[in-house]
């Protein structure tokens, strides 16, 4: 299990930011808030420590900067919904590129998660699992293979992640 990165306050901020990044009229994802926070925490854990620190520092600045750039002049975490959206749009057009880049990074992570959800992929009529399964079978038939390919025989048991891992 990885070490938790986000504090309770940071989780709350990201959970407040996320609904303004994903499409309001798009497919709903059950338990979205809990999932997105967990996913972001996992991803931040993988980043180099310097980048991670910069991201978290950027989150704090994003919250406080709303006092100067949002209407009403409050921290992002205390803004009404409409004001949050307007503030995000304004920051996305900032001339100061670290602000813009931070926001686009955040946006990217949230959308990576959202558009990888089965409900959303179904709405896009994209079924990669069925497609890959069909292609795996097609190759096995072409080459007359009867077994799954595991090129390197590992002497130990598979990792917990890898147990029953094959989807195809």
């Amino acid at each position: 299990m990885h070490r938790k990165i986000l504090s309770t306050l940071q989780e709350k901020l990201l959970a407040q930011l996320a609904p303004h990044i994903i499409p309001a009229n798009g497919p709903a994802v059950p338990h979205f808030h809990a999932k997105i926070v967990q996913r972001l925490d996992r991803f931040l854990f993988e980043l180099p420590s310097l980048l991670r620190s910069l991201f978290l520092w950027g989150l704090r600045m994003f919250d406080f900067a709303a006092v100067f750039f949002a209407q009403p002049r409050r921290r992002f975490s205390r803004l009404p919904d409409k004001s949050r959206f307007d503030y995000i749009q304004r920051m996305s057009r900032s001339w100061f590129h670290p602000v813009r880049d931070w926001l686009f990074t955040c946006r990217g992570l949230i959308l990576l998660f959202y558009y990888s959800q089965p409900e959303v992929m179904a709405a896009l009529h994209y079924d990669p699992q069925a497609w890959a399964r069909e292609r795996v079978q097609a190759r096995r038939q072409e080459l007359h293979l009867t077994e799954t390919i595991d090129e390197l025989k590992i002497l130990s048991e598979a990792t917990q992640d890898d147990q029953d891992d094959s989807e195809y």
Binding site: I21, R39, E46, M121, H125, Y126, R135, A138, I149, K153
Partner: protein
């Protein structure tokens, strides 16, 4: 034999003839060649072992497993450049598109003229290209798996009269699944995971995964071994320590991590060129939207490349991304993003690879890691605009009705007439969305020890039994996808080592 964190439960020491650090394009080749020559080889791989059967279409699952920093690594400078690098058994060959090009003759001529590398002339490297291509099953992408996006790309090139070539890839019975970047689930893409490494293991090599090389130990002017840590991928904690006693060491960790390892090993003070000369083939992507369905996620990841502008250092190719990764690269929020993504089946993603003209650098940090800096200069900014304008032109020539651009201040065009605005844009480097997969040059080959890190036999200047065989050895950018070049040079390096093994393997 392969060992991972699952079956390592204590600190350990091993002895071998050659310790190879890294199992990607360079390391796997060296391991196979040396093991086949009867040498006792141990390969250390920082990443985990993930067999083909574990590959999934889900980026959330595969990015943390196969990619360094889950794909979220950044090079700092006047524009943040995202770079992706494999960190798993097989390295970047597991996650790349498998595009295979020999080093262009003009590049090798340049190496000969400007850098004195006559031994790397095309006719001298030809046998190595041929053997690598045979081992990887390199072949032209067949018509049967040519996706509609590739056919559109070709149509655009033909309508404009641009020269294009059919791409060669390392594939065997490829079914056009187009999940290459998350690990090929069919086993068609011949990454080193399924080509070179099994051969190395059959010939007695050992592979230790989840094992990060911390330091190359040098005693009395010779490499004596490698200190390493077995790192738990789930917690990033060091579980065990290892020491690999070796009579020779090959560093094959890639253009960022080989110099970082050399820094940690205290070898940089001897060679000021370690970490310098970083080139990265900046990559810019445009998305075109067509009226008809294209379903770019079906068919070979790439079918053709346009090399009309190759002498200017710009090539174009098609690719595609799963929706999550595609959406993160598009500059839209909220409902605007979904309005666009609803056209997923109508989208194509085409990219420009630009040969950069100004190098970056890797800097040592006190904590044993490094930071990479790179500045996009004015010349390359102009070339980026030229490349984007040309891509947009190709899209409209192929019938696109809208093109999304990788420029934050000018994100889309809907008519061909708007293309002429692109070269005139006044943009900063930070306005571009740039990424790279091709890092190279940071431990370059050369005949002069004052301006290079390794000699013609890939031997580290001043340490007889330390070698480097990965993309860090390139003296210049090479304009094409680097996998074949890395592997050919690594094959040559291994052969040179075998020819001189008596000298290199003397016991200290």
């Amino acid at each position: 034999m392969i060992r991972t964190i699952q079956n390592i439960d204590h600190d350990f020491e091993e002895s071998c003839d050659v310790c190879v650090i890294g199992s990607g394009a360079g390391g796997a080749v060296v391991a196979k060649e040396l093991a086949e020559a009867g040498l006792n080889v141990i390969v250390l791989e920082e990443g985990g072992y993930y067999p083909t059967s574990s590959f999934s279409h889900d980026p959330q699952r595969m990015l943390p497993r196969l990619y360094r920093h889950a794909g979220g690594a950044i090079i700092v400078g006047n524009a943040p450049i995202m770079y992706v690098e494999g960190r798993c058994v097989g390295g970047s060959t597991v996650i790349n598109a498998g595009i295979c090009y020999r080093t262009p003759e003009s590049v090798l001529d340049d190496w000969r003229r400007e850098h004195g590398l006559a031994e790397l002339a095309y006719d001298k490297l030809l046998p190595y290209f041929e053997v690598v291509e045979k081992n990887l099953h390199v072949m032209p992408v067949p018509d049967a798996i040519m996706g509609r996006d590739s056919l559109k790309f070709k149509q655009g090139a033909e309508n404009l009269g641009y020269r294009y070539v059919r791409v060669q890839r390392n594939i065997h019975a490829c079914q056009g699944t187009n999940l290459c970047i998350l690990g090929c689930p069919t086993g068609a893409k011949q990454s080193t995971l399924i080509s070179y490494l099994p051969e190395a293991l059959k010939n007695g090599a050992q592979l230790i995964a989840n094992c990060r090389a911390d330091k190359i130990v040098v005693k009395n002017g010779r490499a004596a071994g490698v200190e390493a840590s077995v790192v738990d991928p789930a917690s990033h904690k060091i579980r065990h320590r290892a020491y690999i006693r070796a009579r020779a060491v090959f560093a094959c960790s890639g253009a960022l991590h080989t110099p970082t390892l050399l820094f940690r090993s205290g070898l940089a003070k001897r060679r000021s060129w370690i970490g310098r000369n970083l080139y990265l083939h900046p990559n810019l992507k445009c998305v075109g939207i067509f009226d008809e369905e294209v379903k770019s996620w079906q068919g070979s990841i790439q079918g053709f490349q346009i090399d009309e502008f190759a002498e200017e250092g710009i090539v174009f190719g098609s690719t595609f991304l799963p929706p999550g990764i595609l959406a993160l690269s598009l500059p839209y929020f909220g409902n605007d993003s979904f309005k666009l993504m609803e056209h997923y089946h109508h989208m194509s993603l085409w990219g420009a690879l630009v040969e950069d003209t100004h190098p970056g650098r890797i800097w040592r940090l006190p904590n044993g890691t490094s930071v990479t800096t790179y500045w996009i200069n004015a010349l390359d900014r102009q070339r980026f605009l030229r490349a984007i304008a040309s891509l947009a032109k190709i899209f409209f020539a192929a019938g696109a009705r809208k093109v999304l651009l990788p420029i934050k201040s000018f994100t889309e065009i809907n008519r061909e007439e708007e293309i002429e605005q692109i070269p005139k844009l006044r943009v900063r480097a930070s306005d571009f969305s740039v990424f790279t997969m091709h890092l190279m040059g940071t431990c370059r080959l050369g005949i002069d020890p004052r301006t290079s890190v390794i000699d013609m036999n890939h031997q580290f200047h001043g340490i007889e039994n330390l070698f480097i065989a990965d993309a860090s050895v390139f003296p210049t950018p090479i304009r094409v996808n680097p996998m074949i070049t890395i592997m050919a040079l690594a094959t040559r390096a291994a052969q040179k080592f075998i020819e001189n093994r008596q000298r290199y393997l003397r016991v200290t």
